[in-house]
Amino acid sequence: MAIDFNGEVFATDQQGYLLDHMQWQEGLAVAMADSDAFELTTAHWEVINFVRQFYLTYNTSPAIRALTKAMKAEFGADKANSRYLFRLFPDGPAKQATKYAGLPKPKRCL
């Protein structure tokens, strides 16, 4: 599986997650979302960038509870709750935000 973007081919797994997270760029996130018929707003980007930064810092994608806890300091309680995150990412913030952030598919058991 792969995504064509700007004349380049980016390898993904079967669910469309980028295989090499270092290849990620913002335009790629938009292309991924487009192919899911999903629109990325500023609110989405806040989460995508946050999740990506979390991964780069801690070498793991945050589980939902850890994500909300970590977001609290930066965005305040209004945005740091799972209701808000699920409204933004109906398929689940852990699954969806990590995908557009170019990160590996989260482990199934987590």
Binding site: T60, A63, R65, A70
Partner: protein, 123 residues
């Protein structure tokens, strides 16, 4: 609260970080317990203390560095991290750790802390 409601997990880490996945497999359990708001404490004994030593870099030997994840413990409410002092001394290791939560305990205190827990898994 009833006695059954305060079950806590201790994970006793006994292996050095890079030659096998024991430390990573144990970490995954710790993170899931944290995510489910269950109390979990991490103990490091024997070669396990090597998982805490600073300035290691798994990337040099192409190992995904799960030790970096330890720095995210606060987001999983993992506050209790204990290292066995005797194990550090045996290995001539300084108590220089890559995370700040570590408490170095004497053999007796280490054992006493461990016995406060209901379930103990060792990796």
């Amino acid at each position: 609260m009833t006695k059954a409601a305060v079950k806590t997990l201790a994970i006793l880490n006994a292996k050095a970080p890079y030659s096998n996945t024991a430390g990573k497999d144990a970490l995954d359990i710790a993170l899931i317990f944290g995510s489910f708001e269950q109390s979990v404490s991490l103990f490091f004994q024997g070669d396990g203390v090597c998982q805490l030593i600073s300035n290691q870099d798994g990337a040099i030997i192409s190992v995904k560095d799960y030790l970096k994840t330890f720095s995210a413990f606060e987001f999983y409410d993992i506050e209790n991290v204990y290292a066995c002092k005797a194990s550090l001394e045996e290995r001539s290791l300084l108590a220089s750790f890559h995370i700040k939560e570590v408490q170095v305990l004497s053999r007796k205190d280490f054992a006493d802390k461990l016995t406060l827990h209901h379930t103990i898994l060792r990796f």
